[in-house]
Subunit: 425 residues, 2 copies
């Protein structure tokens, strides 16, 4: 153990013990908006009032009826947000995860618009950029889909690997992507990556890109990297049905009480209607109307999201500052930094890498002191981070004071875990 | 053709032609609440207001979190409505049809709590009491499930047939029932039927009763026939996992913006959690809170439903009166009444039987005159009514004036279709 780590470790141990004794209870495990963010949108609770319940075309939103694909004005509003045409997007209920889950189920049970049921295949495989979103992996695991990890880069998944796997193996049927402010790395897919995904040759006749644009307008900086349109690129490449785009307002309006979005080719939407029309009489139109009336247009959403950034931007900065102060100078005996982390342009997470074989220990130490983190490994399929190195930090929910204390504690846990590793404990 | 039908037919023809020429546009095709009914619940739009968004346990309903199975107070409220314990019921989003669809999908894809995936079977069959609900049949058809019609009686499906089919054929895995104020016949299952369903021997190890109690509290009369608890009966018969009970507030609060319910054994709920936890982060808690605050308790729901009955009861009476006036004395040449119809104690429909081979013609004649009915055949699997005899009337949505005109027109269409049949036209 080098000198600086050793002396840091004894101070860290003392603080960790005192935190554990203090009965601290903090939760940084999930990407939840803070109460302040939610208060910004409370006016939406009153945007549809008695006697004022009709859509622009006169549909009584209290009753059955209207288009299964959502209110026209809601489709227009969110088409602008996803940068697609209004007839390419449908607006549904409170969970985009459900749209993804149901779409995978539909592919398995009844097939896609281009080929038969995937359940008839011996094996179905999906590519999973890692680190990635645990709930994507969870639904694939539930359905028995084999997950193949592919490393993320700063501009998307490692495309040579992706291109080889989809070209050589017809059982590879899909990939899950968070293309903007990726969960958890914060990376945004480059135009080159988008183009490559749209045009690559696939052995499967119906390869599908599940494009979870969960953070489409969730910027922390004023000049986030641009994201080009995969729907347009797929169309131009002659693969219009390759992409299923998802989005939601879970982190724009109310988390769990927002609306979800799916954008796709006309042929995919027609395929989807076959499913939706058997599953539900229609989406919650009152909630769609609430959203349209509150936000009005894309400018309304964008100005709202700038207010979000004003609240959560300082939280990301604080985490970065505290980690830098506490861990910036520290290296392992072989000269590797104890930790590195992302500084994202948007989204909800900081991807946090520690020394190999340390992530689980950091998680456990934090838990012992009353700080709940996302479980180590969660950012990998089956919870298995082969290097046991990645953690996901979710800084949005705690207050600045809580967050400072939590981040200091995380730094202490990293120092302790690294020191243990070095000493072979 | 007998004399009275012949003379009725010429008057009917004249009125039908004049209706067709008048540009009439009426819709009695679906069970939609009327605007008056929906106005009764508009206060719910204001029952959750800014600054007042917490559940009884302090959960911030604007955010993620809380139990996947719904707010405790919502589970209590709707448990009372379904006559089950609060820990037997879960409260979900705006479509109970989706809960049924998803549950069937789960049985097919991953299996039940008692056996493996149904998709591994050569064939999956469901029993379908007829006439029945077209959307149940639609989802089974979508999934490729073979539907076996079983005749409805005044006390439920013909149980000797049901018992024989489930005993002899292990591919029979389920039955869809609307046990109270059945769609469309209005029948309520008797205690004997409920007991027989709970205790019958089934060849399938995991036979499931999809108990769609859609009209649990939707009474039109003050003393509706009682419905005993299938969940209790199944438990007592040693088949606790046999039943999946569904309900919703689609025809209590807002149609398409209500909450949905599922009640089942602890083992089935645990099975269900496996699915739900991968599909969604949680239900829309704000909407659950709206419902709890508006209705408060079962007495609140019941008094609300009495006001519904005050609005729609007269509509059912009007249809009965007009049909009786116009068709009551008329018989075919062999002495059969031209039509018979149900007079339900609740629910949303009147089941309307005409002479065999006449229902499609009545539907067509009504369409020609501008009256949209539920398509003939819709109350049977695959839209195939073997006797072409049953129509479903949905009297709730039109105003009394519209309804009178529509019912007179229906009577005229019946007279015309019957006269055509008799004359061999």
């Amino acid at each position: 153990m080098n000198g600086s780590l050793s002396s840091a470790a004894s101070a860290a141990k003392e603080r960790h013990e005192s935190a554990a004794a203090s009965g601290l209870q903090l939760d940084m495990s999930r990407g939840k908006p803070s109460p302040d963010q939610l208060s910004l949108v409370e006016g939406m609770l009153e945007s549809v009032s008695p006697g004022d319940v009709r859509s622009e075309h006169g549909t009584d939103c209290r009753n059955y009826g209207g288009d299964l694909f959502g209110l026209p004005e809601a489709r227009r509003l969110f088409a602008a947000m996803l940068d697609v045409s209004a007839d390419s997007v449908i607006v549904q209920d409170n969970s985009s995860l459900r749209l993804m889950f149901d779409t995978v189920a539909q592919c398995l049970l009844v097939g896609t618009s281009q080929a038969g049921p995937w359940r008839a295949l011996d094996k179905v495989k999906f590519l999973c950029p890692v680190p990635g979103y645990d709930r994507h992996f969870g639904l694939l695991e539930y359905f028995g889909v084999e997950m193949i990890p592919v490393d993320m880069t700063d501009v998307g998944p490692e495309m040579e690997t992706v291109e080889r796997l989809v070209r050589d193996d017809a059982s590879v049927r899909g990939i899950f992507c968070v293309p903007r402010h990726s969960n958890p790395t914060g990376a945004t897919y480059s135009a080159v990556t988008v183009q490559a995904l749209a045009s690559m040759s696939t052995a499967a006749p119906d390869f599908r890109i599940f494009w979870d644009n969960a953070y489409a307008v969730h910027h922390l900086t004023s000049s986030p990297p641009p994201l080009s349109s995969l729907l347009d690129s797929c169309e131009q490449a002659g693969n219009p049905d390759r992409v299923l785009m998802f989005g939601s307002t879970s982190k724009i309006s109310f988390a769990g009480s927002g609306v979800s979005l799916l954008a796709a080719s006309a042929s995919n939407l027609s395929w989807l209607r076959g499913h939706l029309s058997k599953q539900s009489i229609g989406p919650d139109k009152l909630n769609q109307l609430r959203h349209v009336r509150f936000f009005r247009d894309l400018a309304g959403i964008e100005s709202h999201m700038r207010r979000h950034a004003e609240i959560i931007g300082p939280k990301f900065e604080l985490v970065d500052r505290v980690l830098e102060e506490r861990l910036g100078g520290l290296v392992s005996s072989d000269g590797r930094p104890l930790a590195s982390w992302s500084l994202p342009h948007g989204g909800y997470f900081i991807s946090f890498d520690v020394l190999p074989e340390c992530a689980r220990r950091v998680y456990d130490l934090a838990s012992q002191a009353g700080l709940k983190l996302t479980p180590a490994g969660a950012t990998f399929p089956l919870g298995d981070d082969p290097r046991d190195q990645n953690l996901r930090l979710a800084p949005t929910m705690p207050s600045l004071d809580e967050l400072e204390r939590a981040t200091e504690l995380i730094a202490d846990c990293v120092v302790l875990a690294s020191a243990e590793l070095q000493s072979g404990a």
